[in-house]
């Protein structure tokens, strides 16, 4: 344990050194000119951080980095502060053109490529934690990979599901979706029970749900799935059907 810990710390330190070296190598050079009377400079990324300076019209600034929608900038005199996206659009490029920013609205959500989310719910009455990643081929069709862990009183199950998700009305505020998945389930009985072996089975599922864009990169999602767990014994027809519901949040890129 101690050995493992010291190795982890060493690894982290090495990563830290490499990272700080990389951070110094990158120097963004585009200068922006303030086009409105002034821009407020905050001491930190957030509306609550006090304004400690302003950059006046005609003066220049450059963007160093950002955290979410706040940009850390430096002016010609080397003063460093934070400005939100809503302030930074008051600048122009050296050639006079306004600065273009990607807006994070519902349209951005509809045109998303990647989606990563977590959710919680119930699988056959037991709590379930779910992590999923999705890739959208078009506005209507995406592929999703889901990892799930359901922990019940007598056993716990790990599920891996891969499937296609169809979203016929992406522009609706509460956009419904349908999905079809295939995958595998591994059931581990609790230690206090007699049966000590894991059981692995394949499964298929259909699901219905909706997604709704909340703000910026944030999406809420709710779904109900019907799962069929195929019997390992081909001679017996004892496929198990179970219902799952879950809701959660996702971010998109």
């Amino acid at each position: 344990m101690a050995d493992c810990a010291s190795r982890l710390w060493l690894g982290l330190l090495a990563g830290l050194l490499l990272y700080s070296a990389a951070a110094h190598a990158q120097e963004p050079e585009a200068w922006l000119t303030v086009a409105e009377p002034y821009i407020d400079l905050h001491t930190g990324p957030g509306d609550g951080y006090p304004v400690f300076n302003v950059i006046e019209r005609g003066h220049r600034l450059r963007v160093l980095d950002r955290r979410a929608d706040w940009f850390r900038i430096s002016d010609e005199r080397g003063r460093v502060g934070w400005v939100p996206r809503s302030e930074l659009i008051k600048t122009r490029l050296a050639n006079g053109e306004p600065v273009q920013f990607a807006s994070l609205d519902q349209q951005a959500f509809i045109g998303r490529r990647w989606e990563l989310g977590v959710s919680g719910g119930r699988l056959k009455g037991a709590p379930v934690v779910s992590l999923y990643g999705g890739y959208a081929f078009t506005e209507n069709l995406s592929a999703e990979l889901t990892l799930e862990h359901s922990v019940g009183t007598v056993s716990s199950s790990k599920l891996l599901r891969l499937g296609l998700l169809m979203q016929p009305f992406p522009e609706w505020n509460y956009s419904p979706f349908f999905k079809l998945e295939g995958g595998a389930i591994s059931v581990r009985p609790n230690a206090t029970l007699i049966e000590p072996h894991n059981k692995d089975n394949t499964l298929a599922s259909v699901g219905i749900g909706f997604k709704t864009w909340l703000a910026r990169r944030f999406v809420f999602r709710f779904e109900v799935d019907e799962l069929v767990i195929f019997s390992a014994n081909k001679d017996q027809d004892d496929n198990e059907e179970i219902t799952e519901w879950k809701m959660g949040f996702a971010v998109f890129f």
Binding site: M1, C4, A5, L8, W9, L12, G15, L16, Y19, S20, A23, Q26, P28, A30, W31, L32, T43, G44, P45, G46, G48, Y49, V63, L64, D65, R66, R67, A68, D69, W70, F71, R72, L93, A94, N95, V99, Q100, F101, A102, V118, G120, A126, P127, V129, L131, H149, V151, T153, S156, R188, N190, A191, T192, R216, R217, F218, F249, V251
Partner: protein, 216 residues
């Protein structure tokens, strides 16, 4: 003679005239073309090229109080993503080894758990909020950004041979030494059921950790 000179100058002026005129025309043309086709500096400002510091990876170390099994060293790895400047979502992976129960110590009898079952491993999917973002004034000129946050989530604990659905909630203090380096102090309760002693009971497993994080 005078007329001769005058004639010469005149003819020279006549000869030179169009040239001078041409030169000034050329200059005017240049000015015109400069007005029509300015030398545009093609500076593309692409938001995607701005270094976004939306992720954090942190290694935390501290203590975990495992109910009935003593207080043990804990090691935890955290990955966080800042959805906004104040809201973050993340994954925590932790590992500790449970000690002995008082019963095991007092009776010196058969151990309740095998060494493998004493491993206390968990993961959790969390969401957090910087409820009190702020600044720390170390000296008159040196200030650091800080944040007091609340967070909580759901996950699983693998302990005593079984998976246990786990709820956690806690609070912490994040201290940003640099924009890419922070130190976090975190206090948290991990709640899960245990049925090891015959009856099902809900346990509270408190953890206290300090860690170093990289923001990238």
């Amino acid at each position: 003679m005078e007329n001769g000179f005058r004639g010469l100058f005149l003819s020279l002026a006549l000869l030179a005239g169009p040239t001078v005129q041409a030169a000034s025309d050329q200059a005017a043309d240049e000015t015109d073309s400069a007005l029509i086709e300015p030398k545009i500096e093609r500076i593309e400002f692409d938001e995607a090229t701005i270094d976004a510091r939306d992720y954090e990876v942190a290694l935390m170390a501290g203590y975990l109080s495992i109910e009935d099994f003593g207080v043990q060293p804990l090691l935890e790895l955290r990955l966080s993503y800042f959805i906004t400047e104040n809201i973050f979502a993340g994954l925590r992976l932790g590992q500790a080894t449970a000690g002995k129960t008082s019963y095991e110590v007092l009776t010196a009898g058969a151990p309740l758990l095998t060494p493998g079952e004493r491993d206390y491993q968990y993961y959790s999917l969390d969401i957090g909020y910087h409820i009190l973002p702020g600044e720390a004034f170390v000296t008159r000129t040196i200030t650091y950004n800080t944040a007091f946050y609340l967070s909580g989530g759901i996950g699983n604990t693998d302990f005593a041979g079984s998976d246990r659905f786990t709820l956690n909630y806690g609070a912490g203090y994040r201290f940003l030494f640099k924009d890419w380096l922070d130190v976090t102090l975190d206090f948290r309760n991990n709640v899960h059921d245990m049925d090891l002693f015959g009856e099902l009971k809900t346990t509270n497993n408190l953890q206290f950790t300090l860690g170093l994080g990289l923001v990238f």
